[in-house]
Structure formats: C-alpha cells, structure tokens
C-alpha cells in the first residue's frame, strides 16, 4: 500500500473523521472535523465513504511525500497548494506518484484545510473513530499532532483510479469561508431564559471577535458583555456542538468539536448545523455576529446542504485520455476542463 511521509507537519495537523458517536454518556468528547462539510467534500472527491479519515491542517498546512501512486484532494480554507513546487488547484482530484511532494501553505482565507487520499488514512480506530483528541491523547497518530518523520499508512481505495481522476467540486458547491463580519445563524436556547431582554438584544446585534484563546474545543469571543438575569451557573447538563455558553464574565464561548461533554454555564444559543463548518473556518481576530433563525429554517438549510453533498463530486466530462504518436514516439496525454480558481 502507498503511504505518505510527513516532511513538515504544519502548525496543528491531526487525523480527523466524523468523530466518536455514542460515547458522550461516558464523558468521551465527539471530536471529528471542525469543518465537516469540507471533510465530506474531500472524501467525495476521491470516492471515499463519509467516514474515511482525512488530515485537518490549521492555518499552515503540511508537506507530505508520497510513496506509491494515490489520488488525493485538498479542500477547506483557501491556501496555496503545490505538487513538487508547482501550483495545483484545490477542490479537484490530484494524482500523486511515488516521490511526489504535496505542500499546503499558509491559509489565505479560512483556517482549516482538509487533505483526503483515496482509501483514507489508516490509523487505528479508537472507540469507533480515527479522530484525534489531543487533550485526551487518543485517536489519530498516537493521540497527538502529526509530526515530521511520521509515515501515514493508507487504506485500500474503494474505487479504481480512473473513476476518481477528473472529479472536482464546482465553486458554488465549495465550503463557505469567513468574510469581514461573518454572520452565523443560531437557534436561541437551551438557556436563553437565563438572560434578560437587553442581553438577548445585545447578543443579536453585537459584533464579536474570535480571540487567541480558541482551539478545537471552543472559541472564546471578545465583545459586549452579556449580563445574566440571575447567575451564570446552572446545574451541569449536556453540551450540543455549537452551544454558546456564557460564564459569569459575560463573554460567550462557542463550544466545538473537542468540547467537554457536560458543563455548568448557561447556554444562550446554539449554532445551526450547517453553520458549524463556517464557524470551524474562523481564526483569531475574525469577526462574527449571530443571527437567530427558526428551527424549521435550520432544518431546511441542512436539507439543502445534504442534497448538495449528495450531488458531489462533479466529473469533468472532457477528461479523456489520448495516445498521441509523434513520429515514432507514442505519448499519453490527458485533456480535461480546467476548473478556474478565484
């Protein structure tokens, strides 16, 4: 089987999949990709199952050397990607051959880049998932960040290479990335009643800034304080992904992939499922405002997103191989539609 050797790990690169399901009752966090949309799109490109493990790189991507021939795809935050120093597009299948070096640079827009390979990364399953939970030291590569010298084994691809080459995700179906002030849709609750009207008003109008104290567990935000009606503490209960909890200091914290399973702070609102991926693409100093929507609208948005994901990948119709004879020499050329970036 081919594998990928890590030449440079990037800033914070881990193996992730859809996370651990069913174990929060034992206190085990879910983990999984911060931007599940880009993870699923990346897997769809190389015709992996949704559950295949990919690499999630934060802000600065890794440099990987391929041993063998394998199809790969890079999605998520916009970043310069090269193979052997030559720029290659994101959101398209790349053919990596033995010795090829894939480099993902510093993100230009968004925070997290996903690298999928046909077959997926074959690290050991821990409690039903390959996701790395660094704080708990489980999953991925020995429960830690990927580092230089690691050799990442790959599983056998499920589809023949010929079926994978030419796959791409058109621009309209690529992930959304943060802009000047990113609007994130929320559903109020479960403990919005702990906040008086004026706090709810501030919450729906104010602009918050993602602080440096932000990681896969959650994003601490800076901005106008939200004063509780009575007190910030509640009897500890479960924490849904995207829960926005407000401790006594009044500043919201958005709970994300590696969040603890239970907590005792009032939660003013919860980010809707389809906007979790967008939230996961935010980085320190990015600005966010929250827009309350109805549960029906949130479910409708989720339905639309599912139908987009199900339509992936697109296949470039003009991808065809020709054998060209020039004099006595015969060469193979592949001609396909180029998907424009930017």
């Amino acid at each position: 089987m081919p594998d990928l050797a890590v030449i440079l790990p990037g800033m914070f690169t881990t193996v992730q999949d859809l996370g651990r399901c069913g174990l929060q009752q034992y206190g085990v966090p879910v983990s999984g990709a911060m931007d599940e949309y880009s993870l699923r799109a990346a897997n769809s490109l190389v015709l992996n199952k949704d559950t295949a493990a990919v690499l999630e790189a934060t802000l600065q991507g890794p440099t990987l050397k391929c041993n063998g021939t394998v199809a790969a795809a890079v999605t998520g935050a916009r970043a310069p990607v090269t193979v052997n120093g030559l720029p290659v597009p994101m959101w398209q299948v790349l053919l990596l051959k033995c010795g090829d070096v894939l480099t993902v640079g510093v993100t230009v827009s968004g925070a997290r880049v996903y690298i999928a390979v046909a077959g997926g990364f074959d690290v050991p399953m821990v409690m039903g998932s390959r996701s790395t939970f660094v704080r708990g030291g489980i999953g991925g590569v020995e429960g830690r960040l990927v580092r230089s010298g690691d050799v990442l084994p790959l599983s056998t691809p499920t589809a023949p290479l010929a079926d994978v080459l030419g796959n791409y995700v058109p621009r309209a179906k690529q992930c959304r990335l943060p802009w000047a002030v990113t609007a994130i849709r929320v559903i109020l609750g479960p403990q919005d009643e702990c906040f008086p009207e004026d706090a709810l008003y501030i919450f729906s109008r104010a602009e918050y800034t993602v602080t440096n104290e932000s990681d896969r567990m959650g994003f601490r935000l800076a901005g106008p304080k939200l004063v509780h009606r009575d007190k910030a503490d509640i009897v500890s209960d479960g924490i849904a992904p995207g829960s926005i909890q407000v401790p006594g200091h009044g500043l919201p914290i958005v709970m994300l992939a590696d969040r603890q399973t239970t907590g005792g702070y009032a939660k003013i609102a919860t980010v809707i499922s389809v906007d979790l991926a967008l939230m996961g693409q935010m980085k320190p100093q990015d600005k966010v405002r929250f827009v309350a929507v109805s549960p029906d609208d949130a479910v409708q948005a989720l339905r639309e997103q599912e139908s987009v994901l199900r339509s992936l990948p697109c296949r470039s119709v003009s991808a065809r191989k020709f054998r060209i004879r020039i004099g006595s020499e015969s060469i193979t050329a592949e001609i396909r539609e180029v998907v424009e970036e930017g």
């Binding site: 399901c21 069913g22 174990l23 929060q24 009752q25 034992y26 206190g27 085990v28 966090p29 821990v126 409690m127 039903g128 708990g136 489980i138 929320v186 559903i187 109020l188 609750g189 479960p190 403990q191 009897v235 500890s236 209960d237 479960g238 924490i239 849904a240 992904p241 995207g242 829960s243 603890q260 399973t261 239970t262 907590g263 939660k267 919860t270 980010v271 809707i272 499922s273 549960p295 949130a298 479910v299 989720l302 339905r303 599912e306």
Partner: protein
Amino acid sequence: MVRYLMAGDSHLVVEFGQNINPTINQQVHALARCLTEQELPGLKEVVPTYRSLLVSYDPLLLSLHDLKECCNRCISSIADICKQIREIVTIPTLYGGQYGVDLAGVAREVELSEQDVIKIHTAVIYPIYMIGFMPGYPYLGGLDERIAVPRLKTPRTQVPAGSVAMAERQTGVYPIPSPGGWRLIGRTPLRLYRPEQMPPVLFRAGQYIRFCAVSVEEYLCLEELVKNNEYVPDIMTEEVL
C-alpha cells in the same frame, strides 16, 4: 412536568427539573434507557446528566415532533418502573497511607478516627448521576456530611489515576491522571477508563458505586489481575422495594 428545550437543530434537551436529586436523576436515566431501546431511526445518542437528557438526532430522519412524541410515550411508561432495580459496581479501594495521602488530615478535621472515616465512606451506595468533565469521571451523590471537608486551597497539579477523592458533599474517583483539588483518601487498582474496550468506562451513569476497603495485599493482587486483563468487575443487581 417535563420541559423540552431546543439545543440547535439536531439536539433536544428533555429537562425533568432544576435540582440535583435522586428521583429526578432516575427519571433521566429511565428515559435514556427507554429511548435507546426504541431504536428510533435518526436517534444518534443520548447524554444523561443530573436533571436532563440531551438527545442527539438527525432532523432529516426524525422530526422534532416525532422525537417529542416518543419521549412522551417513554416518560408515561417509565413512571412505575423507576427505582425498582439498581446495579451496584464495587470499587475496591485501599484507603490511607501513600494511596490516600489526605485521609489522616481529613480524619483530624472531622474529629474522627481514620477507621471511622473509611467506615462512613464505604457505608453509602452512591448513585452515579452522570459521567462528564473527563472520560469516565463519575458525578456521585450522597456523601455523608459527617465526613464532608472543603477542597484543598491549592489544587494538586497531578492526581494519579484511580484516586478516590472527596470535597464538600461530593466524592468520586479519577479515571485518568489529572489536576485536582479534592482530598485524596484512597486509590483503586481498577482501570476505570480503558479506551481499547467497549464500553470504554467500567460503569455508566444511572448505576451505583460502592467503595469497599481492601488491604495492601488485596490491592496488589487486584492490580496484577487488572494488568493481565483477568479482573472481572463486581456488578451486583439489587431490587429496591
């Protein structure tokens, strides 16, 4: 009586009350069991906590309306099966000495002998209200107030795995090494959290824990069994009338 609270578009909080009390908590666990047994398409997982159940579901497969209906049916059927059977997990514990460095201090503070503190601590069958904070950490109720002491003023940076600890009206056992400010009165040789096994934790929320004092010899013997994967957890089922 029950309140349904939205936690986003894919999670529902079923809240039975606002307080920490055994009756409310039993209802939470009964609903968790009942919902799990329904094998409802689209139901992903349940997270029981002190006084509410967090239900994770796929709204494209299971509507909020149908989920609430199912919860309502479960709740009306659990009213009388609550309380009847309890599963008690025994946690063998070596108290005091180097295994429970704070036991002597606790005994002095509450003006009892070390033996009395052990006797009181092992006499209670503690309900596991919930598991959280870290993998396998049980929130237990019911510590006897005669042995209640405040937390350490300065928390320890590292508490060894298996430490049996208490603070105020709470007691618990650390599944993995962690910083902690509770008083360490003993240690169990059991591996409470074993990520390579399913389920990954020795006990689950809704069960009960009983601490049982063991000697150094028994501790070392159990430790050997645990190391060789030969230890069979002691889980007792008891009917409550």
